[in-house]
C-alpha cells in the first residue's frame, strides 16, 4: 500500500499508487518516497517550509501532539504536517502515521460534506487548533499536579510542572511559526486565488489561537512561584510538628529535674511521691499538648 485516498462517494479510505488527480491524499514520509510524481515536491518540502508557484502551494506547518514520557508523564510534542495544494480539488497531506490517524479520527463522518477548498481550510484549522487542544490537556495535567503538591515533599511534581510550562511555551512558539508561514504564503499568493481567502481565514484563527494559548501560558507561568511556596510549606509543617514533639518530650525532664537534686526534698517520705511526680509531670505536659493542639501546632 502507498498513499491513502479518500473516496467521497463511499466515505472510505483506499490505497493508491499515485497522488495525481482530484481528492484528498494522506501519506507518511516512507509512503511518499514510493509514490509516483512526488519526488520533486518532497525535496522542496524538506528544504523549505513554504513553496508557492501560481495556484500550487506547499506549506510545512507545526502540529501539536501529546505523548507519554517515562519521566515526565504527558508532554507535548511538535510534529509537522506538510500540505500540498495544486488546485482547488487536490490536497496531499504528508505527516507521520500517528498524526494522519489523528486527522482521520477528527474528520470521521464529516469529510463527505467537504470539498475543494474546504479540505485545505480544514487541514489548516486542524493544525492551528491542535495547539489549543494540547494546551487544554496540559492545563488539566498542570492542575492535577498542582493538587498533588498538597502532600509533596520532593521536587518530582515541580519538575513536571516546569516541563509542562515549557511545553506551553513551545506551543506559543509553534503557533507563531504557523503565523509567519501563513503570512508569507498570503504574500506569495495572488489575491484572487481561491486559496488566498482560505489562508486569510486561517491566519485570523492563528492570531486568535496564539492570543489564547499565550494568555494561558503567561498566566500559568506567573503562578509557578506559588507552587514553590506550597512545597516549602509542606516541609515547614513537618518541621513544625517535629519541633512541638521535641518540646513535649523535653517537658517531663524539665519538670522532674528539681526532684533529682541532692537536697532535702518536699514530701520525700510520702509513700506515693513517685506516682504523684509522674502524674504532675505528665499532667503538665498533657495540658501543654492540649493547648498546642488548640493553636494548630500539630496541624499537618
Amino acid at each position: 500500500m502507498t498513499a491513502q485516498y479518500y473516496n467521497p462517494q463511499t466515505g472510505t479510505w483506499t490505497a493508491c499508487d499515485s497522488c495525481s488527480g482530484s481528492g484528498l491524499f494522506l501519506l507518511n514520509p516512507e509512503q511518499a518516497l514510493s509514490c509516483n510524481n512526488l519526488g520533486s515536491w518532497l525535496r522542496q518540502s524538506e528544504d523549505q517550509r513554504l513553496y508557492c508557484e501560481g495556484e500550487e502551494i506547499s506549506l510545512r506547518l507545526p502540529v501539536a501532539m501529546l505523548e507519554e514520557d517515562a519521566r515526565f508523564g504527558t508532554v507535548a510534542r511538535i510534529s509537522t504536517l506538510t500540505l500540498h495544494h495544486e488546485h482547488p480539488d487536490h490536497l496531499i497531506l504528508l505527516g507521520e502515521e500517528t498524526l494522519l490517524s489523528m486527522l482521520k479520527q477528527d474528520w470521521l463522518s464529516t469529510l463527505q460534506q467537504s470539498q475543494g477548498h474546504d479540505l485545505l481550510q480544514r487541514a489548516l484549522l486542524n493544525s492551528i487548533y491542535s495547539h489549543e487542544r494540547v494546551a487544554r490537556v496540559l492545563v488539566d495535567r498542570l492542575q492535577e499536579l498542582r493538587l498533588a503538591l498538597k502532600t509533596a515533599m520532593g521536587n518530582r511534581e515541580l519538575r513536571e510542572i516546569v516541563v509542562l510550562n515549557r511545553d506551553l511555551g513551545e506551543l506559543v512558539i509553534a503557533l507563531r511559526e504557523t503565523g509567519l508561514i501563513l503570512r508569507d504564503a498570503l504574500r506569495a499568493t495572488p489575491g484572487d486565488a481561491p486559496a488566498y481567502a482560505v489562508m486569510e481565514i486561517a491566519l485570523r484563527e492563528q492570531r486568535r489561537m496564539e492570543e489564547i494559548v499565550n494568555l494561558v501560558y503567561e498566566r500559568y507561568l506567573t503562578v509557578t512561584n506559588a507552587y514553590n511556596g506550597i512545597i516549602q510549606n509542606n516541609a515547614h509543617t513537618v518541621m513544625k510538628v517535629m519541633t512541638v514533639w521535641l518540646a513535649l518530650l523535653m517537658m517531663p525532664i524539665a519538670f522532674i529535674m528539681p526532684f533529682h537534686m541532692m537536697t532535702i526534698l518536699p514530701l520525700e517520705h510520702w509513700h506515693y511521691l513517685w506516682f504523684g511526680l509522674l502524674a504532675y509531670v505528665f499532667g503538665a505536659t498533657l495540658l501543654f499538648a492540649v493547648w498546642a493542639r488548640k493553636h494548630g501546632f500539630f496541624a499537618m
Partner: protein, 304 residues
Amino acid sequence: MLRITRDCLLSGNANRRSWMALVNPTALELSQAAMTLDIPESFLRKRLEGEASRPLIKEERLISLQFQVPIPEDGRIGQFSLVPLSVYFAPGYFVTLADQEIPFLNQLIDPDKPRKRWELVLRIIAEVTRLYLPTARAVAREMAMVERDLRQAQRHDVVYRGLDIHDRLLALDLGLLQLEYVVSEIALLLPKEDLDLLEIHEDTRIELSQVRDQVDSDQETINELLESYAYVVHNNVNHLFKFMAALIILVTIPLFIPGAAAMNVPLGPLPHWRYGFVAVTGGLILVEALIAWIFYRKGWLRLD
C-alpha cells in the same frame, strides 16, 4: 428542547424570521434542526460541546457566531459555568443553541417588537458582557475572604483558594477574549449606513474592553499576590517555630540549674540544708521568669 417562535426578528431585507431555540437538545431534536436549517448535524454538535472552532463564520446561506455566557451557580457566590451559546442566521430562521436556558434571551427577543438582526446580536453580546462584570467582581471579592483567613493560616489552603480564583478569572478572560474577537469581526459585517447600529457596536466594544481590563487587572493582582500569600503562610509557621524554639530554651534551663545540684559529687552543705530545695527551685523560677520576660518583650514568646 426545540422551540420555534414565529416572526421574532427582521432580516437584512426586513423580512420577518422565526426564532428557533435549541436548549440542551436531544439527538433527534438536533437532527431535526440540522435538516430544517440545512446545516450538518456534526457542526451543531461540535458547537454545542464547545470544541475549538471559528467564533464567527459567514457563508452564503449561514452566519454563525459563538461565545461563552457566564451563568452563576445557585447559592455559590463567585462560582459559575461558562455555557457556549451559538447564534445562527439561516434562511427563514434565527437560531440559538446552548446546553442550558440563557435567561435574557426571552426578554431580548420579542415578537411584538422584532429587532434587526445585527441589533439583536449586539444586544445579546452587550447582555453577555454585563453578565461577565458581576461574575468577575464576585470572584475577585473572594480575594478579600482569602486575605482575612491568611492572618492565621498555617497551611497552603489559602494559596489553593488563590489559585482557584486565578483559574476562574482566566476562564472569564478567555471568554471575554472570544467575545472581543466576535465584536471586532462583526464590525466588518455591519451596514456602514446604519449609524445607530454602529453606535451600539462602539458602545458594546467599549463596555467589553472595560470589563476585560478589569478582569485582567484582577488577575494580575492575584498573580502577584499569590507569592505573597505563600510567604505569609510561611511566616505564620515561622512564628510557631520561633515560639517553640523559645519554649525549648526555657525547658532546657532546668537541665542545668537543678542539674548542678544533682551531681554525684560532694555538694557541700546543700544536701543537708533545710531550705536547699526551695532556694534552688526559687532561683530556677526566677531565672525562668526573667528569661521568659525578655523573650516576651522581644516578641519571641508571642503567637500573633
